[in-house]
């Protein structure tokens, strides 16, 4: 097989002949058409562009592409075409390619906007998204009210299933992370406290740290990655599959049916998971204190009990409840806002996790300041 070749000749006055020969395959790349296009442009007196495929061996889309480009170029400068020298199949494909005129709106499809307009659009988009969040939270509150009055459409079996998924099934990962956080807190504290012979205060550090902040915070971050992302992906996929539209057309509010049970499940489970995480963290700290710093196990737990009081515990549990609401609302909101493509589901999932974590940190800061003011 010889290489693909494109030669130009002038068999008569005003006639440009493009001779294609050899074997044309996509794998060998696409030959340049610049010389041929220049010849078409340059010959003001051209009366005809013709083709000769006498020595053509094999061909595929690479040749069709070249002929298609030359044909379009030739038509754009008003040079008549003679395609009779081309194989019949190739002529058929050219007919097919030119059967429908190119879509005209393509120029307006992605207009370039000035920088300031982009900034303005982003700002408007930001305020719109804040309004969307408020509207969503409002809708959820109304639905919750309907649910409490027993007038919401939802399935109790779904609620129990979600409670199981976000609660019991999260225990292994919550255990692992909480024990490790307790271990880390104990190690970090012990390095400093050991210098003053105050090893026993490891128990205070771990106990207070876990109960007041870290238990709720770590559980919330786990739930943001696990449950919030799952909510967004699940509701996003339902949007793509028009399942949510189907609910709406049946007169069932998707907020009642899908969102409220999810939010309720997580808000109910978060304080319980937080309490469990607190205990696991204290256990992790005890593991370090007892095994590495020779603190008696009874002594360690007595010290922990003396360091924390019920306000600390309930303060932490309240934070857990707030974080749970944040994670659930973010996950459901992003899922319900999802576009209608698989890429949009990915974006919604990412956005749910990022939104949750940002708002968890903001809520943590606000609650810590509020507790301090209230002397809790």
């Amino acid at each position: 097989m010889s290489a693909a070749q494109l030669r130009l000749s002038h068999p008569g006055a005003g006639v440009l002949r493009v001779q294609v020969s050899g074997s044309w395959t996509l794998a060998s790349g696409l030959p340049s058409t610049r010389e041929a296009e220049q010849a078409i442009d340059g010959g003001g007196a051209l009366s005809r562009l013709c083709f000769d495929a006498g020595n053509l061996e094999t061909w595929d889309s690479s040749l069709v592409n070249v002929i298609y480009k030359l044909a379009r170029h030739s038509r754009s400068v008003g040079v008549p075409l003679d395609l009779s020298g081309l194989p019949e199949g190739l002529r058929g494909l050219l007919d097919l390619a030119e059967a429908v005129a190119p879509h005209r709106e393509v120029q307006d499809h992605r207009p370039d906007t000035p920088f300031l307009a982009d900034v303005g659009s982003e700002a408007i988009e930001f305020f719109r998204s804040v309004a969307d969040i408020l509207r969503f939270v409002g809708g959820v509150s109304v639905s919750l009210g309907r649910m409490l009055r027993g007038r919401a459409h939802y399935r109790a079996s779904d609620l129990f299933l979600i409670v199981q998924q976000v609660g019991a099934q999260a225990l292994p990962i919550v255990s692992l992370i909480s024990v490790l956080v307790g271990l880390i807190l104990a190690f970090v504290g012990a390095v400093q406290l050991e210098q003053f012979g105050a090893d026993i205060f490891i128990a205070n550090l771990v106990g207070l740290g876990m109960v007041r902040d870290m238990g709720a915070m770590m559980t919330a971050i786990i739930m943001a990655g696990r449950t919030g992302a799952a909510y967004a992906a699940e509701l996003g996929t339902m949007t793509v599959n028009e399942e949510i539209d189907a609910l709406r057309t049946m007169g069932i509010s998707p907020i009642d049916f899908l969102v409220v049970p999810r939010i309720l499940a997580l808000v109910l489970m978060m304080p319980i998971l937080t309490l469990y995480a607190d205990l696991m963290g204290i256990l992790g700290g005890a593991l370090v204190g007892v095994t590495l710093f020779d603190i008696g196990i009874y002594e360690y737990f007595r010290q922990t009990r003396s360091a924390i009081d019920l306000f600390d515990v309930f303060g932490g549990l309240f934070k857990g409840l707030v974080y749970g609401a944040i994670v659930a609302v973010s996950g459901c909101l992003r899922g319900m806002e999802c576009g209608r493509s698989s890429a949009a589901v990915g974006t919604a999932t990412t956005s749910a996790v990022v939104t949750s974590i940002v708002f968890i940190v903001i809520a943590c800061a606000m609650l810590t300041v509020a507790y301090d003011i209230m002397d809790i």
Partner: protein
């Protein structure tokens, strides 16, 4: 190219999932350059059979030959090479939603032929023009209609100039005019490129207008009931079920 020569041969093929048989003992041949319909009622296993033919589902028994080569007995590397000779249009289009139409078509060109961005885009534009979507290069699948998505999916299936195009329910969900245009496109592609086209469908009008040959799969007996030109099967088949299917149940 010898049109009509055996191109794909099913020899005692049984397909299914685990222990569940969907279709069994299938024996038929698809000729080179044929437009071949795999037809039958909903749920009879047409798409399952197509999945076996395109290398996604190993048959429980039997062999599928491409030319003289048994696909499922070839080593995995050889299977990959054979698979490059198929173009597949899935029922829902299966276009990658995060990519524009041009990027969808350019991806296989860049991956398998190592084409650079510019030539890959040129070929993508050509393929889109062939299916009547010139000018839609920068649109995303979510921005175009269902019929356009199907045509874009055919353009992607043709990206590597395959020997064989598999089209899963190409006309499903399309209006009559879009459906006719799609049928015309299929015939013109076959006539121009000599591509063998296998259509999984139960759209009678399309089957009877454009297909040269067909196989009819049955749900109850889980096997093929007839094989041949669909127009002849409609008029002359001895099997009542086949005739009823091809005449929409009218005597």
């Amino acid at each position: 190219m010898a049109i009509g020569q055996a191109h794909i041969r099913f020899e005692g093929v049984t397909v299914g999932y685990g222990d569940r048989l969907v279709q069994r003992d299938l024996d038929f041949t698809i000729g080179r350059g044929d437009i071949f319909a795999i037809m039958g009622p909903s749920g009879c296993g047409k798409s399952t059979l197509m999945r076996s033919a395109i290398g996604l589902l190993r048959p429980i028994a039997g062999r599928i030959f491409y030319g003289e080569e048994s696909f499922w007995e070839a080593d995995p590397e050889r299977q990959k090479i054979l698979m490059r000779a198929f173009g597949v249009m899935y029922q829902g289009g299966a276009l990658w939603s995060s990519m524009s139409l041009a990027e969808n078509i350019a991806l296989p060109l860049k991956e398998f032929l190592a084409l650079q961005d510019e030539p890959a885009r040129e070929i993508a534009s050509l393929k889109l023009a062939l299916v009547g979507l010139a000018g839609f290069e920068d649109y995303y699948p979510s921005e175009i209609s269902g019929g356009m998505r199907k045509r874009a999916a055919i353009a992607r299936a043709m990206a590597l100039d395959p020997d064989t195009l598999f089209l899963d329910e190409p006309s499903a969900g399309l209006d009559p005019i879009s459906s006719r245009l799609l049928d015309e496109l299929v015939v013109r592609l076959r006539d121009s490129l000599g591509t063998t086209i296998v259509i999984v469908s139960h759209e009678l009008y399309s089957i009877l207008s454009i297909c040269d040959n067909s196989v009819f799969l049955d749900t109850e007996t889980s096997t093929m009931l007839a094989n041949g030109d669909p127009r002849l099967l409609r008029d002359e088949s001895d099997n009542r079920q086949v005739r009823e299917f091809l005449t929409r149940g009218t005597p």
